[in-house]
């Protein structure tokens, strides 16, 4: 009598049992990227599938999530849900998200498809292929969710184009370009482990909680819809590390090197998120300092204690992040305030209540180092002399952030490091970024650095308006301070806070 297969059998038949040993091509020809990184895998069958999800179940549950998500997005649009956000300053966090984060989801989609093809093990292939589709789903749902805001606010209209060109967006872009041009084992360590496991809460929670606290139902809904995908991604990240560590002792120093590199790169990238948490949310969730304490110092500490059994240790320079948590967000907001004339979102100075919140959350740094310059800027702005930095900044060759980070232990002095390579000098913001360059100079000497490219005349022209045009940034609309922005004028009218007649929403879609 025939019987139904149970879950374990179904999973085995529809994944592992569909694999085969090649008989007329060599494995090294079919999987040419397996050797060059030096990682040794003796037995792919030792890979433990974190979940037993077959493709038919995958499609069924993902489709269910999509149905729920899109019905909420429809309701949001039909009910002008954008009017429920705390105020229009919040929408600038979404501009940063769409231009900076959504394209990374697309890059992850491509990256996981690439590594899914390159790994010989069926379990790893299935997990990577599912993640590739998950990430495509994420970019699509983010675009759909945020497209509603594009009808009413500025700066969203050409996110793909801007991601490839705008100076601050080279920070996230270069992060993923680095991962995708690495080998498959480095890619999966960088993204699945370092990003999707160690640091995931520091990207996801701030944006999604920020949305919840600020009345952005659409983004909250996207967040929930994506979260269960993330639990699969997290477990893949942990499995990857354990698998590589258990396969061969020679893998340990290689893995450690990648953990060191990608922790630091992720930490620098997350500066943008920390800045968003501390400065761009009218209703705050928690401070970056608090988030770092919970999600890295405590959770991360426990994780690495666990991994010590393999001979892995905490990432290099982790102690600098403890000191940095008091400073990096204020320094980053200062960078964007300096260059708002060239940014596709608005900035502003915090009001008194917000400054007091910052003083309370940053008792060791805010009042001493940052309040004085912010109060000065605010005074000047009120007097009609709002500060815009007229000169292009110096960039770090590795993280590509303007060199606004200070020397550990001295928040009044910029940190400088440098290396010489093949007749050229390269500059870095930190030991972490310098080490990354020194380990792979042939890679990082090829970085497309926005400021350098502007000076080479490759960005549309020699003047700021020409460069902004090349960015597809609408001058006087997308840029400059929030106070004078069309976004604010529109918001005040829609909320009945202005005297004049309401304007039609901007038709920049």
């Amino acid at each position: 009598m025939s019987r139904k297969l149970n879950l374990r059998e179904r999973y085995q038949r529809m994944t592992r049992d569909l694999a085969w040993e090649p008989s007329y091509q060599s494995k090294s020809d079919i999987y040419p990227q397996m050797e060059f990184e030096g990682i040794k895998i003796e037995d792919w069958d030792k890979w433990e599938d974190p979940f037993r999800l077959t493709m038919d179940s995958y499609w069924k549950y993902q489709a269910e999530k999509e149905r729920k998500l899109y019905s909420i997005i429809d309701a949001f649009a039909q009910n002008n849900g954008h009017m429920n956000v705390t105020d229009a300053r919040y929408v600038n966090a979404l501009k940063l998200f769409l231009t900076g984060v959504s394209p990374l989801e697309y890059a992850a989609h491509r990256g996981f498809a690439m590594v899914g093809r390159q790994f010989p093990g069926a379990g790893a292939q299935v997990a990577c292929q599912m993640q590739s589709i998950d990430e495509l789903r994420h970019v699509q749902t983010q675009i759909h969710t945020i497209s509603h805001y594009n009808k009413y606010f500025n700066g969203f209209h050409d996110f793909r184009h801007m991601h490839d060109r705008v100076w601050y967006l080279s920070v996230p872009k270069s992060f993923f370009d680095d991962a995708m041009s690495a080998g498959p084992f480095e890619f999966i360590t960088a993204i699945s482990f370092s990003f999707e496991y160690v640091l995931t809460n520091l990207l996801f929670m701030p944006f999604m909680s920020g949305a919840a606290f600020n009345g952005d139902m659409a983004t909250v809904t996207f967040g929930f819809s994506a979260q269960s995908d993330e639990s699969r991604h997290m477990t893949l990240g942990l499995e990857v590390i354990k698998f590589m560590a258990e396969q061969h002792p020679d893998n340990i120093p290689i893995i450690q090197g990648w953990i060191d590199k990608w922790f630091w790169r992720g930490y620098r990238l997350l500066t943008l998120v920390g800045m968003m948490m501390d400065y761009m949310l009218p209703k705050k969730v928690m401070s970056w300092r608090e988030a770092w304490e919970i999600y890295f110092e405590q959770n991360g500490g426990a994780l690495f204690e666990d991994l010590a059994r393999y001979g892995l240790r905490m990432p290099k320079y982790w102690e600098q992040t403890i000191e940095g948590k008091d400073h990096i967000t204020h320094q980053a907001w200062g960078i964007f305030y300096n260059y708002t004339h060239a940014a596709a979102f608005h900035t502003w100075m915090p009001d008194n209540e917000e400054m007091d919140w910052l003083s309370a959350k940053y008792p060791d740094s805010f009042d001493q180092y940052y309040r004085p310059r912010f109060e000065h800027w605010r005074e000047q702005a009120e007097a009609g002399n709002r500060f815009y930095n007229p000169t292009l900044p110096m960039l770090c060759q590795t993280c590509q952030i303007p060199m606004g980070f200070t020397e550990p232990g001295d928040p009044t002095t910029i940190g400088f490091r440098a290396s010489d390579f093949e007749g050229n000098r390269y500059h870095f913001c930190s030991d972490g970024c310098k080490d990354i360059f020194d380990n792979e100079p042939q890679k990082f000497c090829q970085a497309w650095m926005p400021v350098h490219q502007i000076y080479q005349g490759n960005c549309g022209g020699a003047t700021v308006p020409e460069v902004l045009d090349w960015y597809h940034l609408n001058f006087g609309v997308d840029n400059f301070d929030y106070e004078q922005s069309p976004d604010k004028k529109n918001w005040d009218k829609w909320k009945g806070q202005a005297a004049e007649e309401p304007e039609a929403p901007d038709e920049a879609a």
């Binding site: 149970n6 879950l7 374990r8 974190p50 979940f51 037993r52 999800l53 179940s57 549950y61 269910e64 999530k65 729920k68 909680s209 919840a212 909250v220 929930f224 979260q227 269960s228 993330e230 639990s231 997290m234 477990t235 426990a302 666990d306």
Partner: protein, 93 residues
Amino acid sequence: MADAKNMVYLALQNNEDARPIIEAIEEDNPHAVINHFPAMVKIDAVGKLIVRRETVEEKIGREWDPQEIHISLVSLSGNVIEDDDEFGVERDN
């Protein structure tokens, strides 16, 4: 904490789909601790947490596949154990 190394958790969205699952977990895992956060429920336990298909089916009055939990899952910690009758996490350090 002495038990820290054996802690596992399941975090679920706090919505109608997840309500019977959360109730089933409470019933079948007396050692579990339920923590409420904005829009999320995090359930901590020492050693093991199990969601039983039968218990959920009793509550919702229809057939239920343990893999439906994917629709409500936020995050988890521990080694996943699953078959046709249950979905869970365990850790044995």
